[in-house]
Amino acid sequence: MENKQLVTPGEVITEGMDYLPGDGTYRDGSNIRAALMGLAQTRDRLVKVIPLSGRYMPKKEDPVIGVVKEVRYSNWVLDINAPYDAVMMVGEAVDRFIDLKKDKLTNYFSVGDAVICRILHIDEGMSVMVTARGPGLRKLTDGQILDIAPSKIPRIIGKGASMVKMIKEYTGTRVFVGQNGRIWLQGGNEELTIRVIKKIEAEAHKAGLTDEIQKLLESEGNGNKA
């Protein structure tokens, strides 16, 4: 079990050269200081700060939900709820070949469409590429999308996806959690699913949340696993 400690930017987390500064920290002489407001965590020799708020920053391989913003000659521009837009090239949209001379790109994805995609690549200039080709990746045609704070996503998923699995079991709702703070849900008891997700978002910093959520799901969901 690692120790977690609430820190503010500039606060010294560890002294001495025995530790390495990880995400959300920086080295200042022999000290490691927090660069973020969040929970400081030391695992092995690596010190990091888990943010409690903030925008989503795209990371390679992250599954996200994007919304088409613009259709261009050979690609689509997607809003991925980040400071930077993502680009999806024709070759990354569907498994079959798209002939730019014959096919209209809007037949595949048009403005406003929501897409489950994966971050393919990011360069130093923060140009982001995504793909919709791969297991589970597709255009969304039904259900609804819930926006929550991206910093709370790890809590919604839970250790080894335990939390989201539990929600799906009790509510019978199909759920896809994008790392960028967008959650897709469809079917089952959608109302309860939304309520539970909002509760996790509001109380993400509390310990023992899984048990509390399980109790709520048991009492509200008629005690039956769907």
């Binding site: 930017p9 500039g10 973020l36 407001m37 708020s53 400071p83 930077y84 910093s151």
Partner: protein, 243 residues
């Protein structure tokens, strides 16, 4: 106050009853603007300021984009009812200046290289003004940035100090000036530091003081800053306190 008072300090007490090194009551709330990525309200006595932070987000207009780091853009303004005589709305010479120095002070702590091409927008609005508004606004902005989860070297903390006179006209240095002292005192100084590396990020003076007076005032301001910093940290952490 219409006419210049005979004194701003008498028998060791200022017009509002404070001693020279005393600051006004400080109250800080975070997350006051839900639409924003981060926000804070800071009150220094009757001076009340709200700051909201949006971003990092895409920067428009495009010619301001920097390919290797983010731009920190600040906008300071006062509400028309924040002062006794209605303040004409909209930014003027004074507002543009304060916006500029606020943005520059914040840029020196924000780790802008983490967000190339983006912008971090900071909006500072004075709800009620009783002097020291730029410093109160800067403190609020610094807390709002931390609340927004924006990476930075540390918090910016500011305090004002000034020179006020007694009934014989003798000058004294005082901390955290309020309206009459700002208006009638011989000098008022806005002073802000990047707290943990102890670097000055904003220093402006209206009026004049000797070097000795300046250093005396700065010494008192540093004490007030220490207290202000603790209050800021307390407010930030208070939001996540588990009961």
């Amino acid at each position: 106050m219409e006419t210049k008072p005979d004194y701003l300090i008498k028998g060791g007490k200022r017009l509002d009853g404070r001693k020279l090194a005393d600051w006004r009551e400080i109250s800080i709330k975070t997350g006051v603007i839900e639409n924003a990525d981060g926000s804070a309200q800071v009150d220094f006595g009757k001076t009340k300021v709200i700051a909201a932070v949006y971003g990092p987000r895409e920067l428009h207009p495009r010619h301001l984009v920097m390919s290797d780091r983010a731009l920190v853009r600040a906008k300071y303004d006062m509400l028309s009812f924040s002062v006794e005589d209605r303040k004409r709305p909209g930014p003027g010479r004074r507002e543009h200046e304060i916006s500029k120095v606020t943005a520059e002070a914040l840029s020196s702590v924000v780790l802008t290289e983490k967000f190339p091409r983006a912008v971090i927008d900071v909006f500072v609005t004075v709800i009620q003004a009783d002097a020291s508004t730029r410093i109160t606004g800067l403190n609020a902005a610094s807390i709002a940035l931390a609340d927004a989860g924006i990476p930075m070297k540390g918090l910016v903390v500011g305090v004002t100090f000034g020179k006020i006179y007694d009934e014989k006209g003798k000058g004294y240095m005082a901390v955290d000036v309020f309206k009459p002292e700002d208006q009638w005192g011989q000098a008022d100084i806005a002073y802000a530091k990047s707290y943990n590396d102890n670097k000055v990020v904003l220093l402006q003076m209206d009026g004049d003081v000797t070097k000795e007076e300046f250093l005396k005032g700065k010494e008192m301001a540093d004490k007030a800053m220490e207290y202000t910093y603790k209050e800021m940290v307390k407010a930030l952490k208070g939001k996540y306190e588990v009961d």
